[in-house]
Amino acid sequence: MLAKLCKKAFPRSLWIYHCNSGACNGCDIEILNVLTPYYDVERFGMKLVASPRHADVMLISGAVTRPTLPLVKKAYDAIPEPKIVFGIGSCAAGGGCWFDSYHVSGGADKAVPVNYIIPGCPPRPEAIIYGVALALGLVEKKAAPVELKQVEFPVDMYLKNRAWEERNVIYQLLNE
């Protein structure tokens, strides 16, 4: 649904504003790596811009710290509609190791609405390209929730124990 909307809303080149909200610089280096000729995200028409007023997409890296929280909100408001927000790295996706620290708001989604998250510490450049391609509808989503259950025992332990107790003569004598 969102991918179709993206195709309609962003028919041409996406311009990207990169917002560091207290990241360790690992994710930022990977974002720059994506723009190099080896990975070359510019073949999809993407380009880094310096001002949020020129941008369609916002990349947030880093858990949003207390000093940067109002600035991130301001930058988000400055981007013209329609806009997509990517949370890049584990910090932006869910807060990372600092999700419950006093000086961190716990992930980019606590500050601004995040459309797509790209986990990884830092994510590979391929992972970032994959996330961008997912937003554009070029690839299919591969992640799915996993639910595992151990094989349940065929005999109910409680019933078995009760049957054993009832069969035992000593318990009858004790009850009397």
């Binding site: 929280l69 419950d100 006093y102 992972a127």
Partner: protein, 178 residues
């Protein structure tokens, strides 16, 4: 003069060829030893909770929903893929796969849940009582044996402006120590 230099440049470029990866259309597997999404083998897992106790991001939660059922929840959104859970697992039930294409629009897509059947006492039908074990074992258990994550968060909300009351509160706050 400038023409010869241009021809030289073209020849250089032709020699190098195309270096750009055709990544989203062709797979590009990571190098050996890459740590991607951790995967649990629920047949090997004994439910000791060592992974939860060692996780730096505290993204693995262990909770006992009833006497002989233990649920292990892994929330991948804040996992840093450090691989410590796979290191400490005594049964080698956790493997770090090479799956890195985890970008989603829903946080629940990268979580996994394990339901473990815990062995109960043959006599009383209950799990082994941890309160009667020795003090050292109990100290080890305190690391993961909590049920409500929200209660452990000292300051669930951040303020936009500098807040003196919050500063006072954070001064008084001490991390629980053993």
């Amino acid at each position: 003069m400038w023409l010869t230099s241009k021809i030289k440049q073209v020849l250089l470029v032709l020699k190098a060829g195309v270096v750009t990866l055709r990544y989203p259309f062709e797979p590009h597997p990571p190098a050996k030893g890459f740590r991607g999404q951790p995967v649990w083998d629920h047949h090997k897992c004994v439910g000791c909770g060592g992974c939860a106790a060692h996780c730096p991001a505290r993204t693995i939660l262990v909770r006992d929903i009833c006497q002989d059922l233990r649920v292990l929840v892994y929330d991948g959104s804040r996992c840093t893929y450090c691989g410590r859970c796979a290191d400490v697992c005594p049964e080698d039930a956790i493997t770090m796969t090479e799956q890195f294409e985890l970008a989603t629009n829903d946080k629940n897509d990268i979580s996994s849940t394990l339901e473990l059947f815990m062995l109960t006492c043959q006599r009383c039908g209950r799990c082994y009582n941890m309160e009667t074990t020795n003090m050292i074992d109990r100290m080890d258990l305190r690391g993961f044996h909590y049920d409500n994550l929200e209660l452990r968060v000292p300051f669930p909300k951040a303020t936009e402006r500098f807040d003196e009351a919050m500063l006072e509160e954070s001064d008084r706050y001490r991390r629980p120590s053993k």
